[in-house]
Symmetry: C3
Subunit: 152 residues, 3 copies
Amino acid sequence: MIEEKLAQLGLTLPQLPVSKGIYKSCLVDGKHLYLSGHVSVNSDGSYITGKLGKDLDEAQGQIAARQCGLAMLASIKNHLGDLDNVKRVIKILGMVNATPEYDKHPLVINGCSELFVQLWGDDNGKGVRSAVGMGSLPANVAVEIEAIFELH
Amino acid sequence: MIEEKLAQLGLTLPQLPVSKGIYKSCLVDGKHLYLSGHVSVNSDGSYITGKLGKDLDEAQGQIAARQCGLAMLASIKNHLGDLDNVKRVIKILGMVNATPEYDKHPLVINGCSELFVQLWGDDNGKGVRSAVGMGSLPANVAVEIEAIFELH
Amino acid sequence: MIEEKLAQLGLTLPQLPVSKGIYKSCLVDGKHLYLSGHVSVNSDGSYITGKLGKDLDEAQGQIAARQCGLAMLASIKNHLGDLDNVKRVIKILGMVNATPEYDKHPLVINGCSELFVQLWGDDNGKGVRSAVGMGSLPANVAVEIEAIFELH
Protein backbone atom coordinates (compact mmCIF):
# COMPACT_ATOMS: atom_id res chain seq x y z
CA MET A 1 0.00 0.00 0.00
CA ILE A 2 2.83 2.39 0.83
CA GLU A 3 4.50 1.48 -2.45
CA GLU A 4 1.24 2.27 -4.29
CA LYS A 5 1.06 5.63 -2.59
CA LEU A 6 4.63 6.37 -3.61
CA ALA A 7 3.77 5.50 -7.20
CA GLN A 8 0.69 7.74 -7.08
CA LEU A 9 2.87 10.58 -5.83
CA GLY A 10 5.29 9.95 -8.70
CA LEU A 11 8.11 9.20 -6.25
CA THR A 12 10.74 6.49 -6.52
CA LEU A 13 13.08 5.11 -3.89
CA PRO A 14 16.66 6.26 -4.45
CA GLN A 15 19.57 3.91 -4.92
CA LEU A 16 21.33 3.62 -1.58
CA PRO A 17 24.91 4.91 -1.59
CA VAL A 18 27.48 2.34 -0.54
CA SER A 19 28.01 2.93 3.17
CA LYS A 20 31.58 3.63 4.20
CA GLY A 21 30.74 3.74 7.88
CA ILE A 22 30.60 0.98 10.47
CA TYR A 23 26.93 0.92 11.34
CA LYS A 24 23.55 -0.52 10.41
CA SER A 25 21.22 1.53 8.23
CA CYS A 26 18.32 0.25 10.27
CA LEU A 27 17.86 -1.88 13.37
CA VAL A 28 14.81 -3.53 14.89
CA ASP A 29 14.44 -3.53 18.67
CA GLY A 30 11.11 -5.04 19.68
CA LYS A 31 8.37 -2.87 18.19
CA HIS A 32 10.80 -0.10 17.31
CA LEU A 33 12.67 0.47 14.09
CA TYR A 34 15.71 2.73 14.41
CA LEU A 35 17.04 4.46 11.31
CA SER A 36 20.58 5.81 10.96
CA GLY A 37 21.05 9.36 9.80
CA HIS A 38 20.07 9.22 6.11
CA VAL A 39 21.56 11.89 3.90
CA SER A 40 20.02 13.75 0.97
CA VAL A 41 20.56 11.74 -2.22
CA ASN A 42 19.16 11.97 -5.72
CA SER A 43 17.38 8.98 -7.27
CA ASP A 44 20.69 7.68 -8.65
CA GLY A 45 22.29 7.77 -5.21
CA SER A 46 24.42 10.87 -5.82
CA TYR A 47 24.49 13.38 -3.00
CA ILE A 48 22.45 16.58 -2.86
CA THR A 49 25.02 18.97 -1.43
CA GLY A 50 25.31 22.55 -0.25
CA LYS A 51 24.42 24.79 2.65
CA LEU A 52 21.05 26.37 3.24
CA GLY A 53 21.43 30.14 3.46
CA LYS A 54 24.15 30.13 0.82
CA ASP A 55 23.94 27.40 -1.84
CA LEU A 56 20.32 26.24 -1.66
CA ASP A 57 16.93 27.87 -1.14
CA GLU A 58 13.99 26.51 0.88
CA ALA A 59 12.39 24.72 -2.08
CA GLN A 60 15.66 22.92 -2.81
CA GLY A 61 16.10 22.15 0.87
CA GLN A 62 12.63 20.64 1.06
CA ILE A 63 13.40 18.35 -1.85
CA ALA A 64 16.64 17.35 -0.11
CA ALA A 65 14.70 16.57 3.09
CA ARG A 66 12.12 14.55 1.16
CA GLN A 67 14.93 12.57 -0.45
CA CYS A 68 16.26 11.75 3.06
CA GLY A 69 12.84 10.34 3.83
CA LEU A 70 12.80 8.31 0.62
CA ALA A 71 16.31 7.01 1.38
CA MET A 72 15.00 5.81 4.76
CA LEU A 73 12.18 4.00 2.99
CA ALA A 74 14.71 2.34 0.68
CA SER A 75 16.65 1.15 3.75
CA ILE A 76 13.49 -0.14 5.41
CA LYS A 77 12.49 -2.02 2.25
CA ASN A 78 15.99 -3.51 2.02
CA HIS A 79 15.87 -4.61 5.63
CA LEU A 80 12.25 -5.64 6.25
CA GLY A 81 11.22 -6.42 2.68
CA ASP A 82 7.92 -4.66 3.19
CA LEU A 83 7.17 -1.00 3.87
CA ASP A 84 3.73 -1.87 5.23
CA ASN A 85 5.27 -3.12 8.48
CA VAL A 86 5.69 0.47 9.62
CA LYS A 87 2.84 1.61 11.89
CA ARG A 88 3.80 5.16 12.73
CA VAL A 89 6.52 7.75 13.10
CA ILE A 90 7.78 8.18 16.68
CA LYS A 91 10.57 10.73 16.28
CA ILE A 92 12.73 12.40 13.68
CA LEU A 93 15.85 14.52 14.10
CA GLY A 94 16.21 16.76 11.05
CA MET A 95 19.70 18.17 10.62
CA VAL A 96 20.17 20.96 8.11
CA ASN A 97 23.58 21.99 6.74
CA ALA A 98 23.30 25.75 7.14
CA THR A 99 25.10 29.04 7.52
CA PRO A 100 25.27 30.53 11.05
CA GLU A 101 22.55 33.06 10.14
CA TYR A 102 20.07 30.54 8.70
CA ASP A 103 16.72 30.39 10.53
CA LYS A 104 14.17 28.41 8.48
CA HIS A 105 15.10 24.81 9.38
CA PRO A 106 11.50 23.73 10.12
CA LEU A 107 10.41 24.71 6.59
CA VAL A 108 13.20 22.58 5.13
CA ILE A 109 12.48 19.52 7.25
CA ASN A 110 8.79 19.78 6.34
CA GLY A 111 9.87 18.24 3.03
CA CYS A 112 10.35 14.94 4.87
CA SER A 113 7.45 15.40 7.29
CA GLU A 114 5.00 16.06 4.45
CA LEU A 115 6.08 12.84 2.75
CA PHE A 116 5.47 10.86 5.92
CA VAL A 117 2.00 12.39 6.35
CA GLN A 118 1.19 11.57 2.72
CA LEU A 119 2.21 7.95 3.33
CA TRP A 120 0.91 7.25 6.85
CA GLY A 121 -1.72 9.93 7.39
CA ASP A 122 -2.07 12.93 9.64
CA ASP A 123 -1.79 11.04 12.94
CA ASN A 124 0.56 8.10 12.31
CA GLY A 125 2.69 10.10 9.86
CA LYS A 126 3.53 12.75 12.44
CA GLY A 127 5.99 12.11 15.26
CA VAL A 128 7.91 14.43 17.51
CA ARG A 129 10.63 16.35 15.75
CA SER A 130 13.62 18.62 16.09
CA ALA A 131 14.75 20.63 13.04
CA VAL A 132 18.14 22.20 13.65
CA GLY A 133 21.23 23.65 11.95
CA MET A 134 24.50 21.75 11.81
CA GLY A 135 27.86 23.42 11.34
CA SER A 136 28.77 20.79 8.75
CA LEU A 137 27.57 17.45 7.42
CA PRO A 138 29.29 14.46 5.76
CA ALA A 139 30.21 15.03 2.10
CA ASN A 140 28.65 18.50 2.49
CA VAL A 141 25.15 17.01 2.06
CA ALA A 142 22.31 19.50 2.46
CA VAL A 143 20.23 17.50 4.95
CA GLU A 144 20.60 14.43 7.18
CA ILE A 145 17.66 12.91 9.07
CA GLU A 146 17.51 10.09 11.61
CA ALA A 147 14.29 8.50 12.82
CA ILE A 148 12.53 6.07 15.10
CA PHE A 149 9.41 4.31 13.81
CA GLU A 150 6.97 1.95 15.49
CA LEU A 151 6.24 -1.34 13.72
CA HIS A 152 2.91 -3.18 13.57
CA MET B 1 1.93 18.85 42.89
CA ILE B 2 4.22 19.88 40.02
CA GLU B 3 1.99 22.91 39.41
CA GLU B 4 2.29 23.84 43.10
CA LYS B 5 6.06 23.58 42.90
CA LEU B 6 6.07 25.83 39.85
CA ALA B 7 3.98 28.38 41.72
CA GLN B 8 6.34 28.21 44.72
CA LEU B 9 9.27 28.84 42.37
CA GLY B 10 7.41 31.82 40.92
CA LEU B 11 7.43 30.24 37.47
CA THR B 12 4.62 30.23 34.93
CA LEU B 13 4.16 28.10 31.84
CA PRO B 14 4.74 30.08 28.65
CA GLN B 15 2.16 30.47 25.93
CA LEU B 16 3.02 27.97 23.23
CA PRO B 17 3.93 29.53 19.89
CA VAL B 18 1.76 28.40 17.00
CA SER B 19 3.64 25.54 15.41
CA LYS B 20 4.42 25.97 11.72
CA GLY B 21 5.97 22.52 11.40
CA ILE B 22 4.39 19.17 10.62
CA TYR B 23 4.96 17.29 13.85
CA LYS B 24 3.54 16.55 17.28
CA SER B 25 4.78 18.54 20.25
CA CYS B 26 4.62 15.40 22.32
CA LEU B 27 3.83 11.75 21.73
CA VAL B 28 3.13 8.88 24.11
CA ASP B 29 4.58 5.46 23.31
CA GLY B 30 3.83 3.01 26.09
CA LYS B 31 5.48 4.32 29.25
CA HIS B 32 7.53 6.87 27.32
CA LEU B 33 6.69 10.47 26.55
CA TYR B 34 8.66 11.95 23.65
CA LEU B 35 8.98 15.73 23.40
CA SER B 36 9.82 17.60 20.20
CA GLY B 37 12.63 20.11 20.29
CA HIS B 38 11.18 22.99 22.31
CA VAL B 39 12.69 26.40 21.70
CA SER B 40 13.42 29.21 24.14
CA VAL B 41 10.33 31.39 24.51
CA ASN B 42 9.32 34.12 26.91
CA SER B 43 6.10 33.80 28.94
CA ASP B 44 4.14 35.50 26.16
CA GLY B 45 5.40 32.99 23.58
CA SER B 46 7.84 35.36 21.88
CA TYR B 47 11.24 33.88 21.07
CA ILE B 48 14.41 34.37 23.12
CA THR B 49 16.94 34.79 20.33
CA GLY B 50 20.68 35.22 19.85
CA LYS B 51 23.91 33.27 19.91
CA LEU B 52 25.86 32.36 23.02
CA GLY B 53 29.37 33.72 22.76
CA LYS B 54 28.16 36.83 20.96
CA ASP B 55 24.66 38.04 21.86
CA LEU B 56 23.93 36.38 25.20
CA ASP B 57 25.90 35.54 28.34
CA GLU B 58 25.63 32.38 30.46
CA ALA B 59 22.98 33.81 32.81
CA GLN B 60 20.80 34.73 29.84
CA GLY B 61 21.45 31.34 28.25
CA GLN B 62 20.39 29.56 31.43
CA ILE B 63 17.11 31.46 31.49
CA ALA B 64 16.59 30.53 27.83
CA ALA B 65 17.24 26.85 28.67
CA ARG B 66 14.85 27.00 31.64
CA GLN B 67 12.19 28.48 29.35
CA CYS B 68 12.66 25.50 26.98
CA GLY B 69 11.92 23.26 29.94
CA LEU B 70 8.84 25.30 30.86
CA ALA B 71 7.65 25.17 27.24
CA MET B 72 7.91 21.36 27.40
CA LEU B 73 5.79 21.38 30.55
CA ALA B 74 3.20 23.52 28.77
CA SER B 75 3.10 20.95 25.94
CA ILE B 76 2.78 18.07 28.39
CA LYS B 77 -0.06 19.82 30.23
CA ASN B 78 -1.80 20.49 26.90
CA HIS B 79 -1.43 16.87 25.87
CA LEU B 80 -1.86 14.85 29.07
CA GLY B 81 -3.88 17.39 31.11
CA ASP B 82 -1.80 16.63 34.19
CA LEU B 83 1.90 17.22 34.81
CA ASP B 84 1.87 14.67 37.64
CA ASN B 85 1.82 11.81 35.14
CA VAL B 86 5.55 12.28 34.55
CA LYS B 87 7.68 9.91 36.63
CA ARG B 88 11.20 10.80 35.61
CA VAL B 89 13.51 12.29 33.01
CA ILE B 90 15.15 9.70 30.75
CA LYS B 91 17.14 11.85 28.33
CA ILE B 92 17.54 15.40 27.14
CA LEU B 93 19.41 16.78 24.13
CA GLY B 94 20.31 20.40 24.82
CA MET B 95 21.16 22.36 21.69
CA VAL B 96 22.75 25.77 22.13
CA ASN B 97 22.92 28.38 19.34
CA ALA B 98 26.56 29.40 19.66
CA THR B 99 29.61 30.85 17.97
CA PRO B 100 32.30 28.39 16.80
CA GLU B 101 34.50 29.32 19.79
CA TYR B 102 31.83 28.91 22.46
CA ASP B 103 32.63 26.24 25.09
CA LYS B 104 30.23 26.51 28.06
CA HIS B 105 27.19 24.62 26.73
CA PRO B 106 26.74 22.50 29.89
CA LEU B 107 26.42 25.63 32.04
CA VAL B 108 23.67 26.92 29.75
CA ILE B 109 21.70 23.69 29.64
CA ASN B 110 21.90 23.47 33.45
CA GLY B 111 19.13 26.10 33.36
CA CYS B 112 16.75 23.37 32.19
CA SER B 113 18.30 20.56 34.24
CA GLU B 114 18.03 22.59 37.47
CA LEU B 115 14.34 23.16 36.80
CA PHE B 116 13.75 19.44 36.34
CA VAL B 117 15.60 18.62 39.58
CA GLN B 118 13.53 21.25 41.41
CA LEU B 119 10.34 19.63 40.11
CA TRP B 120 11.13 15.89 40.23
CA GLY B 121 14.02 15.66 42.70
CA ASP B 122 17.65 14.74 42.49
CA ASP B 123 17.14 11.23 41.12
CA ASN B 124 14.01 11.34 38.95
CA GLY B 125 14.76 14.88 37.75
CA LYS B 126 18.12 13.89 36.29
CA GLY B 127 18.39 11.92 33.07
CA VAL B 128 21.24 11.40 30.65
CA ARG B 129 22.13 14.49 28.68
CA SER B 130 24.13 15.95 25.82
CA ALA B 131 24.73 19.71 25.77
CA VAL B 132 26.15 20.80 22.43
CA GLY B 133 26.61 23.73 20.07
CA MET B 134 24.55 24.13 16.92
CA GLY B 135 25.65 26.17 13.93
CA SER B 136 22.18 27.71 13.75
CA LEU B 137 18.68 27.23 15.15
CA PRO B 138 15.16 28.05 13.88
CA ALA B 139 14.23 31.75 14.15
CA ASN B 140 17.70 32.26 15.67
CA VAL B 141 16.43 31.03 19.06
CA ALA B 142 19.11 30.79 21.75
CA VAL B 143 18.37 27.23 22.88
CA GLU B 144 16.35 24.22 21.72
CA ILE B 145 15.88 21.11 23.88
CA GLU B 146 14.24 17.75 23.12
CA ALA B 147 13.50 15.12 25.73
CA ILE B 148 12.24 11.68 26.61
CA PHE B 149 10.38 11.20 29.91
CA GLU B 150 9.03 8.12 31.62
CA LEU B 151 5.38 8.19 32.71
CA HIS B 152 3.88 6.63 35.84
CA MET C 1 35.37 -10.89 28.82
CA ILE C 2 35.05 -7.31 27.54
CA GLU C 3 37.79 -6.27 29.97
CA GLU C 4 40.02 -9.05 28.63
CA LYS C 5 39.41 -7.85 25.08
CA LEU C 6 40.31 -4.31 26.08
CA ALA C 7 43.56 -5.60 27.64
CA GLN C 8 44.35 -7.59 24.47
CA LEU C 9 43.82 -4.42 22.42
CA GLY C 10 46.17 -2.56 24.75
CA LEU C 11 43.41 -0.15 25.73
CA THR C 12 42.65 1.24 29.17
CA LEU C 13 39.55 2.98 30.44
CA PRO C 14 40.14 6.71 30.97
CA GLN C 15 39.66 8.48 34.25
CA LEU C 16 36.27 10.14 34.15
CA PRO C 17 36.38 13.93 34.37
CA VAL C 18 34.42 15.37 37.28
CA SER C 19 31.03 16.23 35.84
CA LYS C 20 29.97 19.85 36.24
CA GLY C 21 26.56 19.26 34.71
CA ILE C 22 23.29 18.20 36.31
CA TYR C 23 22.73 14.82 34.69
CA LYS C 24 23.44 11.12 34.96
CA SER C 25 26.31 9.64 32.96
CA CYS C 26 24.20 6.57 32.35
CA LEU C 27 20.67 5.47 33.12
CA VAL C 28 18.98 2.09 32.95
CA ASP C 29 15.41 1.91 31.65
CA GLY C 30 14.26 -1.70 31.42
CA LYS C 31 16.53 -3.45 28.94
CA HIS C 32 18.00 -0.18 27.70
CA LEU C 33 21.09 1.62 28.88
CA TYR C 34 21.22 5.30 27.94
CA LEU C 35 24.58 7.06 27.89
CA SER C 36 25.03 10.82 28.14
CA GLY C 37 27.16 12.54 25.56
CA HIS C 38 30.69 11.45 26.45
CA VAL C 39 33.49 13.75 25.35
CA SER C 40 36.95 12.91 24.02
CA VAL C 41 39.34 12.50 26.96
CA ASN C 42 42.85 11.14 27.30
CA SER C 43 43.57 8.28 29.72
CA ASP C 44 44.23 10.78 32.52
CA GLY C 45 40.86 12.43 32.00
CA SER C 46 42.20 15.57 30.30
CA TYR C 47 40.25 16.72 27.25
CA ILE C 48 41.24 16.06 23.63
CA THR C 49 40.37 19.41 22.09
CA GLY C 50 40.31 21.11 18.70
CA LYS C 51 38.28 21.27 15.53
CA LEU C 52 38.45 18.78 12.67
CA GLY C 53 39.33 20.59 9.47
CA LYS C 54 41.64 22.98 11.31
CA ASP C 55 43.37 21.62 14.43
CA LEU C 56 43.14 17.83 14.03
CA ASP C 57 43.40 15.36 11.16
CA GLU C 58 41.31 12.21 10.63
CA ALA C 59 43.72 9.92 12.50
CA GLN C 60 43.62 12.23 15.53
CA GLY C 61 39.85 12.51 15.24
CA GLN C 62 39.49 8.72 15.19
CA ILE C 63 41.51 8.43 18.38
CA ALA C 64 39.31 11.11 19.94
CA ALA C 65 36.19 9.17 18.92
CA ARG C 66 37.63 5.93 20.30
CA GLN C 67 38.33 7.70 23.59
CA CYS C 68 34.67 8.78 23.73
CA GLY C 69 33.78 5.10 23.43
CA LEU C 70 36.24 4.16 26.17
CA ALA C 71 34.84 6.92 28.40
CA MET C 72 31.38 5.41 27.94
CA LEU C 73 32.73 2.02 28.98
CA ALA C 74 34.24 3.64 32.10
CA SER C 75 30.82 5.11 32.93
CA ILE C 76 29.10 1.76 32.36
CA LYS C 77 31.63 -0.01 34.59
CA ASN C 78 31.13 2.64 37.28
CA HIS C 79 27.38 2.26 37.11
CA LEU C 80 26.77 -1.45 36.46
CA GLY C 81 30.00 -2.85 37.86
CA ASP C 82 30.31 -5.20 34.92
CA LEU C 83 30.81 -4.45 31.22
CA ASP C 84 29.52 -7.90 30.28
CA ASN C 85 25.95 -6.82 30.96
CA VAL C 86 25.88 -5.02 27.61
CA LYS C 87 24.30 -7.11 24.86
CA ARG C 88 24.47 -4.83 21.84
CA VAL C 89 24.68 -1.31 20.49
CA ILE C 90 21.30 0.16 19.51
CA LYS C 91 22.22 3.71 18.45
CA ILE C 92 25.02 6.23 18.60
CA LEU C 93 25.01 9.92 17.80
CA GLY C 94 28.55 10.98 16.90
CA MET C 95 29.10 14.72 17.12
CA VAL C 96 32.29 16.12 15.61
CA ASN C 97 33.62 19.59 16.42
CA ALA C 98 34.39 20.79 12.90
CA THR C 99 34.86 23.74 10.58
CA PRO C 100 31.93 24.62 8.27
CA GLU C 101 33.76 23.02 5.31
CA TYR C 102 34.59 19.71 7.02
CA ASP C 103 33.07 16.64 5.33
CA LYS C 104 34.62 13.44 6.72
CA HIS C 105 32.62 12.96 9.95
CA PRO C 106 31.88 9.26 9.32
CA LEU C 107 35.62 8.48 9.11
CA VAL C 108 36.15 10.17 12.47
CA ILE C 109 33.27 8.43 14.25
CA ASN C 110 34.51 5.09 12.88
CA GLY C 111 37.12 5.34 15.66
CA CYS C 112 34.35 4.61 18.16
CA SER C 113 32.41 2.21 15.93
CA GLU C 114 35.50 0.07 15.30
CA LEU C 115 36.08 -0.22 19.03
CA PHE C 116 32.51 -1.41 19.58
CA VAL C 117 32.84 -4.01 16.80
CA GLN C 118 36.12 -5.23 18.33
CA LEU C 119 34.37 -5.65 21.68
CA TRP C 120 30.92 -6.95 20.73
CA GLY C 121 31.39 -8.35 17.24
CA ASP C 122 30.19 -7.43 13.79
CA ASP C 123 26.47 -7.74 14.54
CA ASN C 124 26.01 -6.71 18.19
CA GLY C 125 28.77 -4.10 18.00
CA LYS C 126 27.02 -2.19 15.20
CA GLY C 127 23.97 -0.05 15.84
CA VAL C 128 22.37 2.70 13.85
CA ARG C 129 24.39 5.88 13.72
CA SER C 130 24.52 9.52 12.75
CA ALA C 131 27.91 11.20 12.36
CA VAL C 132 27.54 14.96 12.09
CA GLY C 133 29.33 18.28 12.48
CA MET C 134 28.65 20.57 15.42
CA GLY C 135 29.33 24.30 15.36
CA SER C 136 30.94 24.02 18.79
CA LEU C 137 31.32 21.57 21.68
CA PRO C 138 31.87 21.94 25.45
CA ALA C 139 35.46 22.85 26.41
CA ASN C 140 36.23 22.76 22.66
CA VAL C 141 36.48 18.93 22.78
CA ALA C 142 37.06 17.28 19.41
CA VAL C 143 34.26 14.71 19.62
CA GLU C 144 31.21 13.97 21.76
CA ILE C 145 29.17 10.77 21.42
CA GLU C 146 25.93 9.65 23.06
CA ALA C 147 24.56 6.13 22.85
CA ILE C 148 21.80 3.68 23.63
CA PHE C 149 22.76 0.06 24.38
CA GLU C 150 20.66 -3.02 25.02
CA LEU C 151 21.41 -5.03 28.17
CA HIS C 152 21.27 -8.80 28.57
